[in-house]
Amino acid sequence: MASRPVVITGLGVICAIGRDPEEFWLRLMAGQGGVTPVDDEAFAVFTARYAGQVPTEWITGQLPESDAALDRTAQLALVAARQAVGQAGLSAGDVEADRFGLVLGKCQATPDAAGRYQPMHRTGDVVAGRLGMRGPRILVSTACAAGGNAVGLAKDKILTGEADVVLAGGVDPLLFGTYAGFAGLQALSTGPCAPYSRSDGLNLGEGAAFLLLEPLDRALARGATPLAEVAGYGLSADAYHATAPDPTGRGGASAVRRALADAGMSTDDVSYVSGHGTGTPANDAMEAKVMRAVFGDRAPRVPTSSIKSFVGHTLGAAGAVEAVASVLALRHGMAPPTIGFDADTTTDLDFVPNVARRMPIETVVSNNYAFGGNNVALALTTPGGEREYEELPDRPAVITGLGPVSGLGTGVAELAEALAEGRQAVGRAPSLEGRTFAPRSLWRHMNHLSRMAIAASRLAWEDAGIKLPRAALDNVGLIFATAAGSVESTGGFDESVAVDPNKPAVLSFSNVVLNATGGAVCQTLGLRGPTTTICNGEASASIALDCAIEMIKAGKADVVLVVAADETTATAAGDTVVTPYDRERTGSVPGSAAVAILVESAEHCAARGGRAYARILGSGHAGTGEQGERESIRRSLAGLSVGKAGLVVGAGTGGRYDADEAAVLLELVPDGLLTTSVAQTGDCQAATGAMNLAVAALAIRDGIAPALHGLEHPYAGEVESYVRKPHLSEAVEQALVLTAAADSVRGAVLLGAMP
């Protein structure tokens, strides 16, 4: 029996060809593109000057005055988000705030209203705050595949029962630096792009799109109109190159096949394919191969088109914009054309050249491909009737390998030794001297973040003692978690653009996308399973772990590597001390680290005779709201039986929420000794979340944990309530791990000893 049907009941979009879905669709049907010369004179330095811009009045005309001071990214997102909620007819009371989730795809780190970089997840926080959403909150950043990826992850959140309604979408503005990067890669067309025919480059664009997802039964019960069913989705990694797609199309084909398998459909069911169609020669050639590989002899009879020919490449929004177009194509029985198509092009494939086509459409596959070799395919269908379904099976997952890379050392043995000795390495960068963890030809060109992440991944793999044949590696998942990606590459790239926009540091540019490091891990380890990248600040690791568990539960992978990495360029003095949870010694210190955790289905681990550290008993996440931090922490813990936890590894960093956290934890987990790895490493953002998971797993198996040696004046309880010496006096049967992205999302994971 199939899983619970999930449908789309609301659409929202704003992009170069429309300020709402109606206008967007009319322009698509009329074949009227929106790619024009860039208005901003600053762009005059580039030879290629065309882009898909959103007129500012389209944005401001749809926003209340209270949103006027927001940055452009948040404004674009809010316009589309409100449209989707509005079309779904979702009014107050239709969904509890705690059960209303948000999955947002973004490619770029975008500036705030003052022009400074803001955390990747901030746009999502603004949308969630304005729309009263306190359920799961995910920022997915698989570059140009993020928007489609978001729709898939949103479905997962409904299937796991964590949310009743999820708003999924993507947003990205047109940024000068990104434009310079693509220009530097010689990837821009000098005129409006011509995907699948002239293929002489892409146009960038901007926009936002959202789709409101809810279970079919729930939608019908509240009288909503299902517009389309999210029948399935597929993710894959090329494991090939930082920017170029695998020329064989294997990765793209694999994503489509996975989406169809997830949907329980065959290639014969597909009526129309919404292509990625950027207009670059590498992409377009690869996509043709995907079509032929997936559909075989039928490929010429499966129309496929690219609406990027209308709106440009809206990066993180693209997958969502195209998903909206796909839903409308299903509703109207019309395939949008590929405009700018050169009539003289010789091809065996049907790219719906220049004129929209009426045709029966029951199923659309919408494809997106991204830097880092990340691929996503969505299978959307005409909604079926209400029907019986099965809940996701209970497939226990276990942690079988740890790869900690921090100032405390590399690998489990060095970490354990550092913990046992109470060694301090606050703010100290990891040393990777003495071993290359990837082929030298790749290693020497890698930035520090990728090196750390690859070292962590390989160490976790080796720690798990896992050996898999090539074919099995094609199904190993990889979830990358990072708050900010490579600071080194971002800084280097920005600096180069500031000096001369026509001489950007292109190697750095390819590493500016947040998923680049995840892609490098896949490439190095040859992993081609489902992959995604989560950027929810310090909560990224636990959200990534959730994704891994969902993949395992849904049978999409037996083995998933969760890798978290972040870095700082700040240097800390050698004797820097941080004491989280101490009211007299506040202040946090940034650090650099990467931590990988190998997650396996318990069944897979047992079958290969592996030795697990711990079972994953459950997890919970809560978006923060107006009720305050303590309430958010309580809600993140609500679904977990935390009373038996003997150890709590908290998210305290020496920051402003330590007091709230300590108070709630001492109340809800009275017998759990509280600690955190931050006292020994500093705040390594997403990597700290993973490090806390790792030390909890280590505590369960080996009875050792980070000790808060310097703690004297705890915010809550007595010092005896905290871990004071690394060797724990009692075996830890259960350990609770907390993660927190300040003012955004709170996470909790409960681990248990192996039976």
Binding site: Y240, D246, P247, T248, G249, R250, A253, A285, K289, R292, A293, T436, A438, P439, R440, S441, R444, P469, R470, T524, G526
Partner: protein, 354 residues
């Protein structure tokens, strides 16, 4: 040792000895075979290349020690070229290393399998399993600007656009084969490692799509793009800097046999360098003196008649100060000009794989 495909080849095939093996030198005429390599798709009988499997727990450590390039993380879907050196830095062979799930295949140059095997066995301190698979496995090659089309028709279109040095375990005709995108001539190149009992049938089916080319045409095409032909080039105690093979060595690798000698060569006094020259009608013998303005500056390494250039093409080893393109030298009775590699422009560079 005769080619295992000898019986599959027509009677008029001209065979010849290359080091320790007998291989087809030509099936028709060098011109016709060369044309297939450079303009269409040529089928190569590479059964003269030895195939040695190394496996066991220490296989990677062993390979890291005996190979001059870094193969620590070579997965079963990659292959790469590397030199094998002896302690004095002399070239034992140039190999294609194929990553395998439990070890590696080392593919020798033509006819050099037995000496490579002997070298490997001699240095097997790790006690790894070293097995000569040359008898049971045979290598066929496809090279040419349209070789990808042959791959598509013969096996699978998806394999045609594999990236360079990618390897896939696949099947042809129900037979397990190892398929790699590699090559020697800078045209689109592929190799198929097939069980010997099926090699003749794969050869026969490939013939329907491609023109057979022998070792003579292959070596001409190799020199035209400065692909080393070790038996011609690793002569006279030349070190790898003098021989111009430093791209097949990675000195950032901490340790491998011959590394000290290579470092010494890198840091040593500037001696001779190897470079290409073109011109003249006759093909000079190895050792022919090379003169610059009457001054003896070196000697010919080897030379061929380049069908691509329509003239003699050779390598000369000359004093380093003369190692530049565009100089006029005298070789025997011919005036020649020094060249930059590649000496011809492969057609594949301008032909996309569709």
């Amino acid at each position: 040792m005769d080619s295992v495909l000898a019986n599959a080849h027509p009677e008029e095939t001209v065979f010849g000895e290359v080091l320790d093996v007998t291989v087809p030198l030509r099936f028709s005429t060098p011109a016709e075979e060369y044309k297939a390599i450079r303009e269409r798709a040529a089928l190569l009988d590479l059964s003269g290349l030895g195939l040695i499997e190394i496996s066991g727990d220490g296989a990677v450590d062993f390979a890291q020690r005996v190979l001059a390039r870094d193969v620590e993380y070579l997965t079963s879907e990659r292959c790469m070229m590397s030199l094998v050196l002896d302690e004095s830095g002399q070239i034992v062979d140039q190999v294609v290393v194929w990553g395998r799930e439990n070890g590696m295949f080392l593919e020798s140059s033509c006819g050099a399998g037995p000496r490579l095997l002997e070298h490997l066995q001699k240095h097997n301190d790790e006690g790894v399993d070293i097995v000569d698979r040359s008898g049971e496995l045979t290598i066929l090659g496809l090279e040419g600007p349209y070789a990808w089309g042959v791959v598509g028709r013969l096996i699978d279109g998806e394999l045609a656009s594999l990236p360079f040095e990618a390897v896939v375990d696949t099947t042809w005709n129900g037979v397990d084969i190892v398929f790699g995108r590699t090559g020697f001539t800078s045209e689109y190149g592929y190799q198929m490692i097939v069980p010997t009992e099926s090699a003749a049938e794969l050869w026969r089916q490939s013939l329907e799509q491609a023109v057979p080319a022998g070792n003579e045409a292959l070596e001409i095409a190799m020199l035209e793009v400065r692909q080393p032909v070790i038996r011609h080039e690793a002569t006279g105690g030349v070190d790898i800097i003098e021989g111009g093979a430093n791209w097949l060595v990675d000195i950032t690798k901490e340790s491998f046999i011959g590394r000290e000698a290579v470092l010494e060569a890198f840091n040593g006094p500037t001696g001779r360098r190897t470079l290409g020259f073109g011109g003249g009608e006759s093909v000079p013998e190895p050792g022919t003196r090379v003169l610059a303005a009457g001054q003896d500056i070196g000697e010919v390494v080897y030379a061929v008649h380049s069908l691509g250039l329509g003239t003699t093409l050779g390598l000369a080893r000359v004093d380093a100060e003369f190692a530049a393109a565009g100089l006029r030298f005298t070789v025997g009775d011919a005036e020649v000009t020094t060249l930059t590699s590649p000496y011809i422009t492969p057609k594949s560079w301008s032909i996309p794989i569709i």
